[in-house]
């Protein structure tokens, strides 16, 4: 009975989203064409003064950061052996994989000559953070694909390869955590090279650590959000008794991160930029209130964590604050030194939104065809 009630509704939603997808997709194709035949100048607001914009600040920094749930959850389940989080693994690893796919696609737009991306594999510059990020992202995307592959194998009845991968899961997960630790932090290290350009509210020798810890926090926030979105889109979700402890972990990660940030800001004397509400100060406050204070305060209360609505709200703030933080570092904090303001152009936004839409569409298809979420309702428990 339940089934008959939910099915038509579900079909309607998918129809609606297919429409939205189509509306986004056409301009996306046009922009793609212009980008590759007319150059970056024709579609972006990037310039010699501002060479990195939305595609680095949002697509790369946020795409990788928000996919951090994958390495966190696999570590919790396979290394810390907290098996009850097992149901979280599949959706999270899938999002991780799609997140990295999103990042790589975005780089295809952002790189001036993307067909040369393999150059990073043959010309080695170990002094370059970008070189390290390139290797880690490539290897980790492979790890995620392998971690996810048993789902595909089993769906088509290939049990032998699935079993082999299952046997290798510990080294795989360790490799994944190592690679993630390296490149999550390295995205912060990318900005170590600009001490004279990045505003002191964000510049710190601790940038790699900040990036790592905040990605863990926001990555968990993403897992919670996703569960909520999946519930709305597919009627599948994760149980509250799994999400509540995850929220606790997020509060701890964000709390540690927030304290470290404040400590650095007080030490390097840029606190006055906040109190005097400069442009940078305001943007910092926005990021900090959204990304740290609100989620930490809200979700410190058990009552809030166990209420689905507040849990999702708190996680949403954490993710939003995370995005503002990454944009502050890549845009706001660099504007003063560049002597110009940067706002992404409409085509830049179309590409980012289009890529997110592709990612979500693939996720929806995957949920449709593969057993991603535990199906407790239909099978009557496990």
């Amino acid at each position: 009975m339940n089934q008959t009630a939910t099915l038509p509704a579900r079909r309607f939603r998918i129809g609606f989203w297919t429409g939205v997808f189509g509306i986004i997709f056409l301009p996306f194709l046009v922009v793609t064409f212009l980008r590759f035949f007319k150059g970056l100048g024709a579609v972006t607001n990037l310039s010699d003064k501002f060479p990195w914009g939305l595609w680095i600040g949002f697509d790369l920094l946020c795409g990788v950061g928000l996919a951090a749930g994958a390495f966190t959850i696999t570590a919790v389940v396979h290394l810390f052996n907290l098996k009850k989080f097992e149901p979280v693994v599949r959706p999270t690893v899938l999002t991780g994989f799609l997140g990295y796919g999103f990042v790589i696609l975005a780089l295809m737009f952002d790189l001036g000559q993307p067909w040369r991306i393999w150059h990073a594999l043959i010309y080695w510059n170990p002094h370059s953070v970008m070189f390290e990020v390139a290797w880690c992202v490539m290897l980790y995307t492979t790890v995620l694909a392998v971690e996810f592959s048993p789902v595909v194998f089993e769906r088509f009845g290939f049990h032998a390869p699935a079993r082999i991968i299952h046997g290798l899961i510990t080294p795989l997960v360790i490799a994944g955590v190592l690679l993630s630790t390296l490149h999550q932090s390295s995205l912060g290290s990318l900005y170590l090279i600009v001490p004279s350009k990045l505003h002191p509210l964000w510049y710190s020798q601790l940038l790699p650590l900040f990036f790592y810890v905040s990605a863990i926090g926001a990555g968990i926030g993403m897992v919670i959000l996703e569960s909520y979105l999946s519930e709305r889109a597919f009627g599948r979700h994760l149980e509250m008794d799994l999400l509540e402890p995850l929220a606790r972990a997020m509060v701890v990660a964000l709390g540690i991160y927030g304290l470290m940030r404040l400590q650095v800001i007080v030490r390097n004397g840029s606190f006055t930029a906040i109190t005097s509400l400069t442009y940078e100060g305001k943007m910092f406050l926005l990021e900090f209130v959204l990304g740290v204070i609100l989620p930490v305060v809200l979700l410190s209360f058990r009552r809030m964590r166990t209420s689905p609505r507040w849990l999702v709200t708190g996680s949403f703030f954490a993710v939003l604050g995370f995005v503002v933080n990454r944009l502050n570092i890549s845009v706001t904090g660099m504007e003063r030194a560049a002597g110009t303001r940067y706002l992404p152009s409409i085509p830049e936004i179309i590409v980012s939104v289009g890529l997110v839409a592709i990612g979500m569409a693939v996720f929806a298809l995957a949920v449709h065809f593969f057993p991603i979420f535990p199906e407790r309702k239909l099978e009557g428990g496990d």
């Binding site: 590759f36 060479p51 001036g112 150059h119 002094h127 390290e132 390296l182 290290s189 090279i193």
Partner: protein, 260 residues
């Protein structure tokens, strides 16, 4: 032997011969632009907004850093420092990530935003001419020796000598001696360097060192973190096995975890 340029802003008359010579030498299309671009590698402009025709004038060009930030960040080694001094660019390797532009403390590398197959443009200190024993095109073209080419040590000595002989006519600092770890291009001036549009807040150690402090620790980090993670797995897996072996305790254990 490492070479470089010395630019003396007190001598420059703003004629622009250097930028034109650069265009010609490097076969750069179009006319000399007001700001450096991928097609204009060096500019001269007045830094006196009230009376532009009176100067002083200032050149903008690649400083050819001793430890070039651009070369340190390029993932594909498209930018390299030659032993002779010039920081050169290999467009066949570049994949267009533009990290060099982001990172250069002097905002030198520029991009071909208008091209479907774009490359970076920046002064290469006429590395090709240097091989033939010739000075850079800009130095050769300068009618008043405001830009001179030479061995780095000689240029530094010359710069200090000019300041010593005319202390009231110069700021007592050779720009490029310490900036971002030192550069092959040196500059002296009668007006404070920030008035010339130069950055005076640059660190004296090369920015590349800050990154290297982190990157050089990666091998150690991977070893320690890897062993640590495996250790965690080993301990928790053991704990799980023990719990399993004891049978009925498994459930307690789950409950325990639930309340952690």
């Amino acid at each position: 032997m490492s070479v470089g340029l010395l630019f003396d802003a007190t001598r420059c008359i703003g004629c622009g011969a250097c930028s034109s010579a650069c265009k010609e030498q490097n076969k750069l299309p179009g006319v000399v632009e007001a700001k450096t671009t991928a097609y204009t590698w060096t500019t001269v402009k007045s830094v006196n907004p009230a009376k532009p025709e009176e100067g002083p004038y200032m050149r903008h060009l690649c400083m050819h850093c001793k430890v070039p930030t651009c070369a340190s960040v390029c993932p594909v080694l498209a930018l390299t420092k030659t032993p002779e001094g010039p920081v050169v660019y290999d467009s066949a390797k570049c994949m267009g990530c533009r990290y060099c532009m982001m990172a250069c403390p002097f905002d030198v590398p520029k991009y071909q935003w208008d091209k479907a197959v774009p490359i970076i443009g920046k002064c290469i200190l006429c590395a090709g001419r240097l091989k033939d024993g010739k000075p850079s095109a800009c130095a050769e073209a300068c009618p008043v020796q405001a830009t001179v080419f030479g061995k780095h040590e000689d240029l530094l000595r010359e710069a200090r000598e000019r300041i010593r002989q005319n202390p009231s006519g110069y700021v007592d600092h050779v720009y490029g001696l310490t900036e971002a770890g030192g550069t092959s291009v040196l500059m002296i001036s009668s007006v404070p360097f920030e008035k010339l549009g130069l950055k005076t807040d640059l660190p004296t150690e090369p920015p590349a060192m800050r990154t290297w402090q982190v990157l050089s620790n990666i091998p150690d980090f991977v070893a320690v973190w890897g062993v640590f993670l495996y250790g965690i797995h080993w301990i928790t897996a053991r704990r799980g096995e023990v719990a399993q072996a004891k049978g009925p305790l498994t459930k307690d254990m789950d409950d325990h975890e639930r309340h952690l």
